[in-house]
């Protein structure tokens, strides 16, 4: 068993038994379902919108090299500097070099899951930079010393009282249970940090090839301050974030907001078009973009699962996933939680170590129905299982399935085996057998009938 699987099983077991926490997460998502459905109903045809959004991503992902080249040419024409990073190490080195060259001290960041993916904060802090997350949820998680719980709602699992205590401990503020007051505490703390920071690091929601612009969508305005106030703006983005046309955003931005947060549009939608230009009075002096591969090209090379690169990180698949809702986001041990994380993490970090996430699904398909860009999520979990069984077969699985096949390919043996199974079921239920033992811990089996269907049928239809 891989280490990551052992940790997953342990955490999932603890969390799945925590009824209070599970109820809290369900309640937290309750409002989302209502708002999402209200907003979806405002689309003339949500399903056609999904087609359009999927097509916009498909056409960019399936021509990625050309679309990226076009984007980069336009981005550079706008005055930005592009850096290509094959993996996390290269991306971290690039960002550290920019910081070093700029003689920077303080860095402010807005929400960027790609930076979580490459553990950027650790690297920056180790190099002696002060790094502060400016997204409220990420700020809270940073103070807690915990990874994001959900890649859109990073601290959805944290109760208000805990946030109040956290702020009291770290910021010395008076306890309060008012969400507005808690927000104001963070806001007051963060404002000066934007002014003091030498570098602002953001992510990117979309890279628009035809204009060379970066689209960032957010609800707090912190990304705008992060991008605009510090001397240097560094955006970090996966290469799959590129789209062909500015028009594509007319479907992708509202769908991201609706699927992700049940909003008609996110509050702030900004297109960044390079550094401060001659005659402009604000904006960064330097604008860098780090384009990260980090195994995305490996996914691109797999025609079966390539559509996983369509992901716009809305989190809709997490919000409807019964696994996520019952084990929570931290148990995954991944940057990207939920169904999309279970699909792509084996590609990003290795199938052998991370295939258990594809196994930990009832394949209910709620994720696939929720995905605004039509990623075939739950079927990809099956594809990962197949690939893993081929790549690193386990002896138990081989024996179990070939043994089962030996029986079911012989109807007489199946019938005889069934007869023995039914006759001994009361005994079998008491034995610590694999699978059966796990089932019997929380569930009963029906009382075995004296005759099977095939026996009954034979008797009734002679």
């Amino acid at each position: 068993m891989s280490d990551s699987k052992a940790i997953f099983l342990k955490d999932a077991t603890v969390n799945a038994a925590d009824g209070d926490q599970r109820a809290f997460i369900r309640k937290a998502l309750g409002g989302y379902y209502v708002n999402r459905d209200l907003q979806k109903a405002r689309y003339r045809d949500w399903e056609r919108a999904r087609d359009a959004a999927s097509l916009a991503k498909w056409s960019a992902v399936n021509d990625l090299a050309n679309v990226l080249e076009k984007f980069v040419a336009n981005f550079e024409r706008n005055g930005g500097v592009v850096h290509w990073a094959r993996d996390g190490a290269e991306a971290r080195a690039i960002i550290l070099k920019i910081a070093e060259d700029a003689n920077a001290k303080a860095i402010v960041k807005s929400k960027c899951m790609t930076s979580e993916e490459i553990h950027l904060n650790d690297a920056l802090e180790k190099a002696g930079y002060g790094v502060v997350e400016s997204d409220l949820g990420e700020f809270i998680q940073q103070l807690r010393g915990e990874a994001p719980y959900h890649f859109v709602f990073p601290c959805m699992h944290v109760k208000r009282e805990a946030i109040s205590e956290l702020f009291a401990k770290h910021l010395g503020t008076a306890p309060t249970d008012s969400p507005e007051e808690l927000t104001m505490i963070a806001r007051r703390h963060l404002r000066q940090l934007y002014v003091d920071a030498d570098i602002g690091i953001t992510g990117a929601n979309f890279l628009v090839a035809e204009t060379g612009q970066i689209s960032i969508t957010e609800n707090e305005g912190n990304a705008r301050l992060t991008a605009a106030l510090p001397r240097i703006h560094i955006a970090l983005s996966g290469i799959e974030k590129v789209v062909n046309h500015l028009d594509d955003l007319s479907v992708l931005l509202p769908m991201l907001a609706t699927a992700g947060a049940g909003q008609p549009m996110t509050c702030y939608n900004t297109l960044y078009s390079g550094p401060r230009k001659k005659g402009e009075c604000d904006g960064p002096e330097e604008f860098h973009l780090v384009l990260l591969d980090n195994a995305r090209t490996r996914l691109l090379a797999d025609p079966e699962q390539r559509d996983a690169l369509h992901c716009i990180r809305c989190g809709a698949c997490l919000n409807v996933c019964p696994i996520f809702k019952n084990i929570g986001g931290l148990a995954y041990g991944t940057t990207y939680q939920g169904p999309i994380g279970s699909v792509i993490t084996p590609h990003l970090r290795g199938l052998k170590q991370w295939n258990h996430l594809s196994g930990a699904s009832s394949l209910c398909g709620a994720c696939t129905d929720a995905c605004p860009v039509r990623i075939d999520l739950h079927h990809h979990l099956l594809h990962n299982r197949r690939n893993a069984a081929k790549e690193s077969p386990t002896l138990f699985d081989q024996l179990f399935h070939h043994g089962f096949n030996f029986v079911i390919k012989r109807p007489w043996l199946f019938a005889t085996g069934g007869r023995i199974f039914r006759a001994t079921l009361p005994l079998l239920q008491k034995l610590p057998l694999p699978y059966m033992g796990a089932w019997m811990k929380t569930r009963d089996l029906p009382k075995a009938p004296a005759r099977s269907f095939r026996d009954e049928w034979k008797q009734q239809n002679v």
Binding site: A12, T13, A16, A17, G19, R22, P322, I323, N326, I327, G359, A360, S361, S362, L363, C364, G365, A366, T368, D369, L382, R385, R386, A388, A389, K390, D397, H401, H402, F404, N405, V407, I408, K409, P411, F414, G418, F421, R422, Y435, M436, A438, W439, K441, T442, R443, D444, L445, P446, A448, P449, R451, S452, F453, R454, E456, W457, K458, Q460, N461
Partner: protein
Amino acid sequence: MRVSLFVPCFVDQLTPKVGLATAKVLKRLGHEVEFRSAQTCCGQPSFNSGQWDVAREAAIRALAVFRGAEVVVGPSGSCVAMMRQFYPELLKGTPHAAEADDLAARTFEFSEFLVKKLGVTDVGAKFAKKVTYHDGCHALRELRLKEEPRQLLRAVKGLELIESEEGESCCGFGGLFSAKFPMISTAMVQVKGGALARTGADFVVSSDPSCLLQIGGWLSREGKPILPLHIAEVLANDA
């Protein structure tokens, strides 16, 4: 019409009354029903476990078993989804591909067959009980069946249909998932089973006997006063 029954392996061994009820309803509607005893398991446990070579063998055997059948009808959204959706995927690019597509087109889930293929909603059943309906995920999302079983239930004399919270939530069965990740599977059935029990219905009815195994197993263990029942058993009841 001559209907060839596709009886899931665990129905054959554990809940034969579901298969018998399916046959009873079809016969009552005037159809000829056969059971080809060479059938065993559709191969889904192996398919879902990533053992596609093993599952492919099961698929090829099923093609032979049901060769020449006019229509194949199974009382399980999950097992029918295996034949309908996944056999063609498993056998794509093999000499069996065309036959897999052909079988997929002739195979129906029981409630789907009645409503969509035969155009029947009232099968002449009586059942004076309160029931709630559980959508199996394969029926709901692979076969896109939601209204069909409800149309059938609404036409049953005396039956009161109550919808539950968590209506489209998975029961947590997922085949071997329920035993490989029992803690997650149990948490899921607590949510689902709890919502079903809160409806106050006498029975939870589903077109999927595998979900009923999970839901019924948990309800029984928890001592909840609501019993699992397959839709074919409801429709077979005419007394």
